[in-house]
């Protein structure tokens, strides 16, 4: 229980950040449910349960926010933005290229980008890894499990 971040500004406070996040999602849920019919407790419409949940989430968020300001929760430290961005990008690139170019190019691109998220990028090793993983995926998913993938588009 370290509470040393009390005076280091609220921006780095876990409780404040989590509180704001939950509070906003809760409000969003309530706002998003306004398009539908509310109904009554006896005949609940599609908006009833989500609205209740949205307000509850708003309440938890507000509680965390206030507690974070009052007590100064633990600081959220060391965000790994680089691995987060690269892994996310690799996954998105896979989704983007798998339907357009086929499974093998998508996997090669994915592995090349993804490997950069680790420490110490070694190009030759990564190329070998991409080749091995692609061969493995083709063998297991396409030939053994018969999933409907195109290996390379146009071939």
């Amino acid at each position: 229980m370290r509470r040393e971040s009390g005076r280091r500004g609220v921006a780095a406070n876990q409780d404040v950040l989590a509180g704001v996040l939950f509070l906003l999602i809760g409000l969003g849920a309530v706002a998003g449910a306004r398009d539908f019919e509310m109904g009554t407790a006896m005949r609940m419409g599609p908006a009833y349960f989500p609205t209740v949940l949205g307000w509850v989430l708003y309440g938890f968020g507000a509680f965390l926010l206030l507690r974070g300001i009052a007590r100064g929760g633990d600081a959220a430290v060391s965000w790994g933005w680089r691995p987060l961005a690269l892994v996310t990008l690799a996954i998105v690139l896979f989704g983007f290229s798998v339907t357009r170019f086929g499974l093998v190019p998508a996997l090669v691109v994915m592995v090349l980008v993804c490997a950069a998220a680790g420490r110490g990028y070694r190009l030759r090793e990564t190329v070998v890894l991409a080749a091995v993983l692609s061969a493995f995926a083709v063998g297991v998913f396409v030939y053994a499990l018969q999933l409907p993938f195109r290996l390379v588009a146009g071939l």
């Binding site: 989590a18 989430l57 929760g73 987060l84 996954i91 998105v92 995926a137 998913f141």
Partner: protein, 497 residues
Amino acid sequence: MELLANLGLGFGVALSAQNLAYCFAGVALGTLIGVLPGISPLVAIGMLFPLTFTLPPVASLIMLAGIYYGAQYGGAITSILLNTPGETASAVTCLDGYPMARQGRAGPALAIAALASFFAGCVCTLVIALAGPPLAELALRFGPAEYFSLMLMALVASAVLTHGDLVKGLAMVVLGLLAGLVGTDVNSGVARYAFDVLELADGIGFTVIAVGLFAVAEIVRNLERDEPRVALAGRITHLMPTRRDLRDSIWPTLRGTAIGAFFGLLPGTGPALPTFATYLVEKKIARDPARFGSGAIEGVAAPEAANNAAAQTAFIPTLTLGIPGSAVMTLMVGAMVMQGIAPGPQVMTARPDLFWGIVASMWIGNLLLVVLNLPLVGIWVGLLRVPYRWLFPAIVMFCCIGNYSVSNNPVDVYLCAGVGVLGYVLAKLGCEPAPLVLGYVLGPLMEEYLRRALLLARGDPSVFFTRPISLAFLVAAAAILAVMIIPAVRGRRGGAG
């Protein structure tokens, strides 16, 4: 006698060549993945999930169960040899397992872990076979009010028992419930929170949530740390425990099994709590508590037995009530739903082959673990040396292909990336992902039961308090909350005064 007939049916199903092969494949793959550093059983199941899509329902669940306890045993191997637990449940095994390995007794520690797990597995298979039918019968009498209260209790328990902040746990439950509501409402046909995205109208897929939260977010968290130095504690020279090791392990194994089996039954608990509880019990009643932490064999036997016992009995609420007891069980429930089986008390009567087949396959899987792993331990040790920079692109590959192959749609892959980012941010803010997944699975069910209960009661919410079983669940939920809140409040007052 009915028990024998049921178990006979189960073994008939589980011993068919095909199912035996999938059980074996699951256990072997699970151990293989579980041994790899930085991969918890949840990640293992999440990433191997798509391998089971194309299988028939019984085979796919047998294989998933096999992956689960295989990965758990793999976690015990890394705990004992490397002092790096893959998950909280096996953290306790490190305390005495690693010192044993450093004293050159890694072999006996691994053997005792396997044997204690196997013993717990045997007992708990019987417990499931005995407790399952009466529980399912009781559950068949539950009305919507009872189900709603039961789910509320399970959700509260999951928020309380994940280590971390209570309020954050509860908020994650609510966030999960909301995530489960995305998509077309069955009663009105309205697409909720779909933002005119066609794919969201079908709801957020289960694999998207599970893989995004447990695999993608976990990888990023591992990558920002330094790669763990592989420091193997000695070589494995002999496997057989001495006669004294065995004698010392008998009672701790029995106690661990009992404690684990009890906690596993409670929905929402998971295997971490019983392993800690049983370790404390052993330490308390030991004649010489000072040995604990420096290689006491009881400190390996009892938590491993408790871990496996809780893992096994967690199948009871999952299979008989449809209420998953832990994050892993939510994955099993998700798999059942994807296979077109509605989890709940009717499974046992409608699909006895499925229920008893899974029960029997658990025992077979535990046996396979002992038979397979003790001789193969050299291979598993070799896998410990695989560097993480080769592993994580392979895990991401499984995640991508798994999400894409659910409906051959890249949108699921994009959503998974988004859930991964959210999961990472939440984890960084001290919010554990397990309660969210439980909420996600139970969300639509809870709404449906709430709707039905209030319809039957003409909108009067007192129905949840006047029906005795429902009231009992609510009282239990309140008691769990009180146990958590009261000491915290007292402690703060004490600290201020």
